[in-house]
């Protein structure tokens, strides 16, 4: 187990690299979902405003 985390001495480079990539992967998902939620809310707002006009 210890060997695995040690990565043959390269732990200080390997794990940050994986961490950065994982962060980018997760952030992309978060941004995409947020963008979609925002667009849907915006579209709903536009529809409501139009609905108010006779």
């Amino acid at each position: 187990m210890r060997e695995f985390f040690d990565m043959g001495g390269y732990a200080a480079f390997v794990w940050p690299a994986y961490l950065v990539t994982l962060t980018v992967v997760v952030l992309n998902m978060v941004w995409a979902r947020r963008a979609l939620a925002r667009s849907r809310a915006e579209a709903r707002r536009r529809l409501d405003r139009r609905g108010e006009q006779p």
Partner: protein, 245 residues
């Protein structure tokens, strides 16, 4: 040959619904492939005889780099389609690609630097690959900056599409000139692993990661595409149904 399916791809409501349906079909396989790739790359693959366990960075660096370039190409092609045939959905695809591509270019640069320090003794090397990645990042930033600088969505679409097409045409030229420049000044220092071909235990996880990242990109694209399509639509009829779901 019926081309109706192609025509339907230009229809925003169709694309919106299709994207919603297809997303899980890409997201879940992507997650599986990436998990399998990580397991294979971090646990099963043997250490490289030259770089030890440090070579395992390739399992995140290569997919990031691959994505950065593939996404830019897709962005350029979508932009061209949008320009030539004036299809809003194509512009929406291009707009969706940019932030994804830019962030993975950043990841490629950072993982490349982290790979470089133990291998070359320096965080940064002006080798063709890293230099080209850096230039690619600026190409993405320029595209996103241009989009941000134009308020009208249609104008922003057309202007940034022009830029994307010019960029895609230039990428081979830029890469060639950077490789040429690099070969003048030093021996080519490519991040090659100890031998010309990788053994299957090393190669297979890499392929899994590459494929997994690609599928993940498609899932992301489909998600972002829906928001971009919504933003470009004014007609109420199909939107009402779509967003109240």
């Amino acid at each position: 040959m019926k081309w109706t399916w192609l025509h339907r791809l230009a229809s925003p409501p169709y694309v919106y619904a299709l994207a919603a349906r297809l997303t899980p079909w890409f997201a879940w396989p992507a997650a599986l492939l990436i998990a399998a790739g990580l397991w294979g790359g971090l646990v099963l693959a043997p250490a490289d005889y030259q770089q030890g366990d440090g070579f395992r960075i390739i399992y995140v660096h290569a997919p990031s780099g691959w994505l950065s370039l593939m996404v830019y190409t897709i962005m350029g092609v979508a932009a061209a389609v949008g320009l030539i045939w004036r299809i809003k959905v194509a512009h929406a695809v291009a707009a969706s690609c940019a932030p994804i591509g830019a962030s993975f270019t950043f990841a490629a640069l950072v993982t490349g630097a982290l790979w470089g320090e133990p291998m070359w003794g320096t965080y940064w090397e002006w080798d063709p690959r890293l230099t080209s990645e850096l230039i690619l990042l600026f190409l993405y930033l320029g595209y996103m900056g241009l989009r941000a600088g134009i308020d009208d969505t249609q104008r922003a679409d057309r202007a940034s599409a022009l830029l994307a097409v010019v960029g895609v045409v230039n990428v081979p030229i830029i890469h060639y000139s950077v490789t040429w420049w690099n070969s003048l000044h030093q021996a080519p220092s490519v991040m090659r692993l100890g031998r010309p071909t990788m053994p299957p235990t090393m190669l297979l996880p890499l392929l899994l990661m590459l494929l997994g990242f690609t599928l993940y990109f498609v899932a992301l694209l489909l998600m972002r595409l829906r928001s971009e399509v919504l933003a470009r639509e004014r007609s109420a009829s199909w939107i009402r149904e779509a967003v109240s779901a």
